[in-house]
Symmetry: C2
């Protein structure tokens, strides 16, 4: 929470207060403002009301050197952020002819009739500068209020990102004179308290460095953050800590920073010239969806079988009827036969088999959360059995992580 500057975020929109949408913009900005050396100290949401927005911005200016307002810049009558910003600065709105011209041309090009309210987007508080919005009609605004900076940014996330990264975040970083650097290690196969125990006996966190654990979806992220004048300075502080943790945590660490478990698995498969196919039951298709979420996944992901009904485990994936009859559809033996069968039938280097009870009800006398995962590869088959916590949705997501982590551990490591 330390840094060269302090920032605040004000998100505008009735739909945020009513819970129709979650305030993802605040989280997006929070991460980037910390990296720009201006961590967020206060964030608020207000409805589409001039007075309430103005009050929120004034309060934010008490706490922060820079205030970012998101939303309320659109063309309809309930978009009143520019009026509120003008009120806070104590200046009138002025219509900019070149912005008006741009809006008229844009509508003419699409052959749409232009409602007059659209022209409100050409209004700029006196003394403010419009910020180019390359992906929408509403420009952002930048204005100096008694030596502090207020930016008004559009609410649609892709427009916010376009305007914020088009100069706003860079100006804040330059002004703050510092950068916040974050290094993250992604861990799977150990619980949070177990990871924390290893971390805390391995490193002593020096002053000025924050250590945090973020757990979710059976992945534990260990995050180190520091603030310094330059990235190189920050890296000199964090790099030895990260190296020590990678050494101590061993193969619990599957990736760093922007890595994801499916991304790491695909990278390892592709590097080895190998392919994978999956046969999944309780997850319905989630493992295949994860393995195909990234561009280029067709280099390693061949496809899979959604063997939800028990008879399909036999007819599609070749699980012997005897295995199903003796051990049940939810059994280590069935997971193993699914992995072996899909590997052979889909012609892949590795086969993944996954079966279990998503819940809420038990199945074959086995309780919800019982999951068996198997990986078949050139060196044989591995099977794991886990008992996963949570509701149906959580069990399915954790099962995906279990299966992908088992696959990762069967693959040649990236850093030999």
């Amino acid at each position: 929470m330390s840094g060269g500057m302090r920032s605040a975020v004000v998100a505008v929109g009735d739909e945020l207060l009513l819970g129709d949408i979650v305030n993802g913009n605040a989280a997006w900005l929070g991460e980037r403002l910390a990296a720009a050396g201006a961590p967020v100290v206060h964030s608020s949401m207000v409805g589409d009301d001039v007075e309430r927005i103005a009050t929120a911005v004034r309060r934010a200016l008490e706490d922060a050197d820079v205030v970012l307002v998101t939303g309320g810049l659109g063309p309809t009558s309930d978009d009143v952020t520019r009026d509120a910003v003008a009120a806070v600065a104590g200046v009138p709105l002025e219509r900019w002819p070149d912005l008006e011209q741009g809006l008229r041309e844009r509508f003419a090009a699409y052959r749409f009739e232009m409602p007059d309210t659209v022209l409100r987007q050409a209004d700029v508080p006196k003394g403010a500068a419009p910020l180019d919005n390359p992906v929408g009609t509403a420009p952002g605004l930048r204005i100096d209020v008694d030596g502090r900076l207020v930016f008004a940014l559009p609410g649609p996330p892709h427009e916010l990102a376009a305007v914020a990264t088009g100069g706003v975040l860079a100006e804040i970083a330059t002004r703050s004179g510092t950068v916040g650097l974050t290094r993250t290690l992604h861990c799977a196969g150990r619980g949070e308290s177990n990871v924390a125990e290893i971390v805390e006996r391995t490193i002593t966190v020096p002053p000025g460095v924050d250590l945090a654990y973020l757990a979710g979806g059976a992945v534990v992220r260990v995050r180190l953050t520091t603030v310094a004048p330059t990235v190189a300075d920050a890296d000199r502080v964090l790099a030895p800590l990260v190296d020590a943790l990678v050494e101590a945590l061993g193969d619990t660490v599957f990736g760093r920073d922007g890595d994801t478990l499916p991304g790491v698995v695909l990278r390892r498969l592709t590097a080895a010239g190998s392919t994978v196919a999956v046969a999944e039951s309780l997850t319905g298709g989630l493992v295949g969806a994860a393995l195909s979420e990234l561009p280029g996944s067709s280099a390693a992901f061949r496809g899979g079988l959604e063997v939800y009904a028990t008879d399909l485990k036999a007819s599609l994936a070749g699980v012997p009827e005897q295995v199903l009859a003796e051990h049940g559809a939810v059994s280590p033996q069935t997971a193993q036969a699914l992995a072996v069968g899909v590997r052979e039938r889909l012609g892949a280097t590795y086969g993944v088999g996954l079966t279990g009870v998503a819940g809420p009800d038990e199945q074959e006398g086995k309780p919800a959360g019982t999951v068996h995962a198997a990986v078949a590869g050139p060196d044989g088959v591995r099977v794991v059995t886990v008992r996963l916590p949570g509701d149906r949705q959580r069990v399915r997501l954790l099962a995906v992580t279990s299966a992908l982590d088992l696959l990762r551990r069967a693959l040649p490591p990236e850093h030999p």
Copy 2:
């Protein structure tokens, strides 16, 4: 935004400001407070700091009759919400012996060693009442501050839900003397502006009723909200509007209120005693995942084929090599052959076939966003071709909706 009472939410936690987690609690409470007749007028996020939390609660009390604070009630030293609430009320913290005893027994039962900081959870501001938390160690708090109510609730979403629904929301609803009622129609197959046009020529929105359009994932939700002394009063206002819209929008409406598209499809299939199987390419497994997300889906969802690699479209789903060679893997003909093939091979009443280009790169000279969906059933085959906007993730999600909506339209309607 009208109502008998006004509420405010203060969410506590450094992780919210840093963007590590999105403030889903504020959205969850926003929806329920509106329904309790106490819509949220202001929502804020602050870090783990006594002064900042206290300031945020004081500001919230200026705006609202009831303030809900989430998070910062846990056992560690950075959990300081109870100190901040005590500071706002101007009272000291008192340790409640029976709460302390409960914590000691809980830890003894698990045979865990209990750090002393855990006992902070037995501290209650003088004059406040603890709120039972049936799913965690941290009780909530309820305190009267100059005639206004402050509730402190735990941050983990399932604990928040347990404590809020265990009396907090009911007390607020009773105090407000009003209820907010919301009726939602879920539409697919028309764009937002097209739906709005039909709505606006069909009904005149009376005073006291809010109309909103919420679009996302190729689904447009039309939402009507009103506030009244009782649910029956509110329903008398909304029911005729809803009936008129259902009539005018016709089969564009696939569901109401808590419905989802996969849920409606499964309900119709189950009611008809029919089953479905899917063969999906660009979505990797997302259609199967959607059709298996609800409990009881095994009654209608048999399974599917993830035919990501082109050769699997032939070998697994039986798409003729000639179709692939002549028209390509991304073609209406291939979608049709996938639907017919999977229906037959997996023994289902309906087969769904889905192929397309998720992007970012084009494929077979077809641009990203090109998607062909087909449904084969007892009455033949339907195929649709759409050009979907957005990035890879968005194209895949919209493709799932396109396929499920095509399937819905092929099924016998629910209200004949």
